[in-house]
């Protein structure tokens, strides 16, 4: 039983009381909540639509690009060398002097090493390469964050527990306090980022964690955190810390 200390920040009452409580639960992947057919689709690479993106990622890994005319492979060798990497993202990047997501690191390599035209944050090639790199860590546990990520984790935790939007709900109210209960037709998952990028059946598409977070933020009618903003990365970093120990499923299927 892992303990998650959850700070319930100042709530909506007239008095701004700082309250704290702790929630404890066995960490569970959303996979456990899925229908057997959906689980089978994820288990079998031949029926997982996300594998199309992984194939594209393989081609991109080997494709020379930019004014340096280098491929990812020219610096990193076979993509198997990426084993374990996805367990550590978002991670502090000394070169960029900030915590970055795996997608941002891929973008950074493209700009700095390949000197190629940038892709937008959720462009198909970024998703394809993220899926390919993530797949190399499939089955490995998400690593705990380190001191270099501590600030991002703290900021992310505060955002996770802060009420927002016209519905005035926090992430924690659903994913810590009510995980496992029914919200309309959906069981609320604990919200662990173990499978990204995911193929979401509702999207009929491969999508990033950012996109998934936008869905929840739209649900509470809140402004989404701007793409690539420090808040956005901080929440993703906190989610990684909160999920530490769960195995990576990339590329996962979700309903």
């Amino acid at each position: 039983m892992k303990r998650l200390a959850v700070l319930i920040a100042c709530l909506s009452g007239p008095v701004c009381a700082q309250d704290s409580k702790s929630v404890s639960f066995d960490k569970r992947s959303t996979f456990d909540l899925m229908k057997p057919e959906t689980q089978a689709m994820q288990r079998d690479d031949a029926s997982n639509p996300a594998m199309l993106w992984v194939q594209e990622g393989r081609a991109l890994w080997q494709a020379k690009a930019g004014s340096t005319d280098k491929a990812c492979q020219d610096c990193h060798g076979d993509v198997a060398s990426m084993k374990g990497v996805a367990t550590r993202y978002p991670a502090y990047s000394a070169a960029q002097q900030k915590v970055v997501t795996l997608g941002q690191q891929i973008q950074f390599c493209r700009a700095q090493e390949q000197k190629a035209e940038p892709w937008t944050a959720e462009a198909r090639p970024v998703l394809a390469l993220s899926a390919l790199v993530g797949l190399q860590s499939r089955g490995l546990p998400l690593a705990k964050t380190g001191p270099a990520e501590a600030r991002a984790v703290a900021e992310g935790r505060a955002l996770f527990t802060e009420r927002r939007g016209q519905m005035n709900l926090s992430c924690a109210q659903c994913h810590d306090d009510h995980a496992g209960q029914s919200l309309g037709g959906a069981i609320i998952p604990q919200g662990h980022p173990t499978g990204y990028p995911i193929y979401r059946l509702e999207w009929q598409d491969l999508g990033s964690l950012e996109r998934r977070l936008r869905n929840c933020l739209n649900g509470v009618r809140s402004e989404p955190w701007p793409s690539g903003s420090s808040e956005n990365v901080a929440v993703q970093t906190y989610l990684r810390e909160r999920a530490a120990g769960l195995p990576i499923e990339t590329p996962a299927i979700r309903p």
């Binding site: 007239p14 016209q166 739209n218």
Partner: protein, 147 residues
């Protein structure tokens, strides 16, 4: 920090801003003054089941046999009209955060003290006064407790 300060706004201010034309009075655990004209129970039913308008069934079950996919995050609405008066129900829809600041239930008439509201909804309550009266009228018809 800014958001915390915003949220610390006193309830009186919240109420004034929510309804500039006519400040709503909370008396005990009730809101005796109607927010608009007389409610229509059938319109209220439609709002409750609409997943874009009331979305009540995301959290609540209700004695509506034609409805599927009801949540279990909140009390069954069956018998609400027997447990509460009209005025008590009005407060429980319009401003449940007045009764329980930690509540999961959104305050449907609240517009102030909220944080990071998406642009299209800024300054607007989830339901307007007439819609709340309609919802209350429907809840008043739910006299039988859940089996």
């Amino acid at each position: 920090m800014v958001s915390h300060v915003l949220r610390a706004a006193s309830l009186a201010a919240v109420l004034l801003m929510a309804s500039p034309a006519k400040a709503q009075m909370i008396v005990g655990d009730a809101m005796p003054e109607p927010l608009a004209g007389a409610g229509d129970a059938m319109r209220g039913r439609a709002i409750i089941i609409d997943r874009q308008k009331g979305f009540c069934l995301l959290c609540h079950a209700a004695p509506l046999p034609d409805q599927r996919f009801m949540g279990n995050l909140a009390p069954n609405l069956a018998g609400a009209g027997a447990r509460y008066t009209q005025a008590q129900l009005r407060l429980r829809i319009a401003m449940p955060s007045h009764l329980n600041p930690d509540t999961l239930m959104p305050s449907y008439f609240r517009t102030a003290g909220l944080y990071a509201v998406a642009m299209p909804y800024v300054g607007k309550p989830i339901l307007d006064g007439q819609q709340i009266e309609d919802v209350v009228a429907f809840l008043m018809t739910l006299k039988e407790p859940a089996p």
